[in-house]
Symmetry: C2
Subunit: 412 residues, 2 copies
């Protein structure tokens, strides 16, 4: 057991007892007896906040950070990203995933949803680093041998990965995956009770149907006509949606993942935050890959989400700090059926401790300052699943992981 | 003299010699002899970048950080900010200015343009902390005794403050300052060769003329009809401008200061970046006050400026990293007639040194990573006017300044 002693929790200085991977007791400091043998972490001068759940990313794409800035999505993908991805080795993905996970821990993220190549390497990296992940097993057209291997892998391992790392079924998009394969992948997610990840309505081109075999339907209506959408669906982007699409998304219980930095940087379109919320759709936040962001910092993503929603709607009251923090934490956890994202008894013991000495956290309200004023420098300690991943700004083996990643790239 | 030894400058490991407050020599490492007695700073593993020039701020407003989030500008000003400002003491402004300057140094800013109350305290704070500032002497209606005092102060001190700190003439806006006073203030700026700062076309209300005595003119055309606009003018915001307004701004040589976080957070409107650039108007960047941002971090402001420009225009090629970095550095220096904002021989020795060990600065291009991927954690050392303000992340007297500011607020 671990006791976070005298930590600011909400408005109150509290003791927070972690038992195994859960918060067991949260109460005013000194108000309860601590069992013998409990490890004590003096958290005076620190405040506890929920750690981030990054609901859409391609972690190993840190490999391509900044390699193709200032381009539209179709050129970015076809001229820069896809040619490089064809040359990726498992060793590349392993080293890059570890490097990305370091960056996530430093910026307070303990869970990431991933869609990428060489999934076994991302799983290995996440398990070694002690973070949560939902790692997508990606279905693609034109790789029918992979299709059968994927199905087999999912059926064999879905139950095995039910701890820190679990699997998800992933399809890149409606314009790269055929209807029969979309149907098969979604059915598999249903059968195995796994999340189903997809990029959806990301660009005007995709939504204009010029690229896709949707029979004149919108991407959302097309997927619905295939019976693919369900509460398992975690769909990223959704920038080009009609009112009818929003009704479908709500009715099917789809989670929409907003990635403001990537969307703005690629100039893909505008997320309809007001309408999403008015329709009662669950919105989570993601960073997308570092090649289109260009970082994995969910704190920054919160500020972008809130300010962009206000700017686009003309309504400064839209998406206040508390609400966008929920999107970056609790909503991501819910989307992936995890009992976390909230600092409360009985919940997964995931948290970050921020230093109240950080000048940007004063004066004013902690949550407001966390969303609008701070940056990653304020994070002192990161806890995932009851284990301390970063203690007083130190992550074990950080230099070694950075060094190995650099050496890999320098030797290319 | 100071030598920055083996610092990455552009693509080359260089030695950078600072003589007094200027860069004297920048050349490949080891390629020139260093005069005896030169202080050597080993900058191996660091890269030099221009430090930030924050072209619009109200530094002491850190006092009100987060006190009124998620509100439109008119309610934000009239219900929350103005009532608090009426109670400000000189001691408040002094302590808050020092606290704000700490935050600026930590995030790489060495110059700020200020418009606020109790200017003498902001001047004192800037001089003590060793940063540059253009401190506005603010003209307002209904304070005619102040008006004469301001004129006298400017005439007496304009020449005195020509080093780190200089003065500027400031008028809050066309809706709070009458035409005769605007004319008098601008003429004084002309006469004394000082910058003239104003908030301009910030809200739709201001531009719709419902609030202002512009005789049916746009705010820009109104000021032009008063002959107020000139190359001395540094106008903040300019969100509601017509094509005709843009022609006027260009013709008069006005600098427009873009404050993306404040504009987006208050949902005041959309900056027309593409048109500003197409018209050849000088655009600088500012953070505005921490009460509407809610920080003073120019690195974050660059990312917001670039991504918002791309999102609004639908053009991902608009405002690439190099160009937005110029806005945050060189353009701000030019707007205030300072020979800085660029790392080059003969220029003011203002710079920041970033740690190349920072994981977010690898892989990829340094400037791209600085704008899109990093945060303030990457900043190792900050130099202003040839003096080191932050060395290896340490700022002298930081704890004391923070402590004094906290005590002041706790005793209120």
């Amino acid at each position: 057991m671990i006791l976070l002693k005298s930590v600011l929790c909400g408005k109150e200085v509290s003791d927070v007892l972690i038992d195994g991977n859960l918060f067991k007791r949260i109460a005013p400091a000194g108000s309860f007896e601590v069992p013998g043998g409990t490890e004590i972490l003096d958290a005076g001068g620190l405040a506890i906040l929920p750690a981030f759940y990054n609901a859409h990313s391609h972690s190993a794409m840190v490999l391509f950070r900044g390699c193709a800035d200032d381009l539209p999505l179709n050129r970015w993908l076809s001229e820069y990203i896809w040619p490089r991805e064809r040359k990726l080795s498992p060793a590349d993905v392993y080293a890059a995933s570890r490097y990305a996970i370091l960056e996530m821990i430093r910026s307070g993220t303990v869970f990431f949803a991933d869609m990428y190549w060489h999934r076994a390497e991302t799983i290995r990296a996440a398990l070694e680093m002690g973070v949560r992940a939902a790692v997508g097993v990606t279905f693609s057209d034109g790789l029918s041998s992979d299709e059968e291997k994927n199905v087999l892998f999912l059926k064999e391992h879905a139950l095995e990965y039910k701890g820190l790392v679990h699997l998800s079924v992933a399809a890149h998009s409606i314009y790269t995956v055929s209807a029969p394969l979309l149907v098969r992948a979604a059915a598999l997610a249903e059968e195995l009770n796994l999340p189903f990840q997809i990029h959806l309505s990301e660009t005007a081109e995709e939504a204009s149907k010029s690229l896709t075999p949707t029979n004149g339907k919108s991407p959302v209506a097309y997927l619905d006509s295939l019976n693919v959408l369900s509460p398992h669906t975690v769909a990223a982007h959704l920038l080009h949606v009609s009112d009818e699409d929003l009704c479908i998304l709500k009715a099917r219980g789809v989670t929409c993942v907003h990635n403001p930095c990537s969307n703005m940087k690629l100039a893909n379109g505008t997320f309809q935050m007001r309408k999403m919320l008015a329709n009662g759709i669950r919105v989570a936040l993601g960073t997308d890959g570092a090649a289109s962001n260009n970082n994995l910092d969910m704190r920054e993503e919160m500020k972008f989400a809130s300010l962009w929603a206000k700017a686009v709607s003309g309504d400064p009251e839209l998406l206040p700090a508390e609400q966008v923090l929920e999107m970056a934490t609790k909503n991501g956890a819910e989307a992936f059926s995890l009992n976390g994202g909230v600092i409360a008894e009985g919940k997964l013991a995931d948290a970050l401790l921020v230093s109240l000495d950080d000048s940007r956290l004063f004066p004013g309200d902690l949550v407001s300052n966390w969303v609008y004023a701070a940056d990653s420098r304020a994070i002192d300690t990161v806890i995932c699943d009851g284990k301390i991943l970063m203690l007083h700004k130190k992550i074990p083996r950080e230099e070694k992981i950075i060094e190995e990643f650099r050496r890999l790239l320098e030797n290319k």
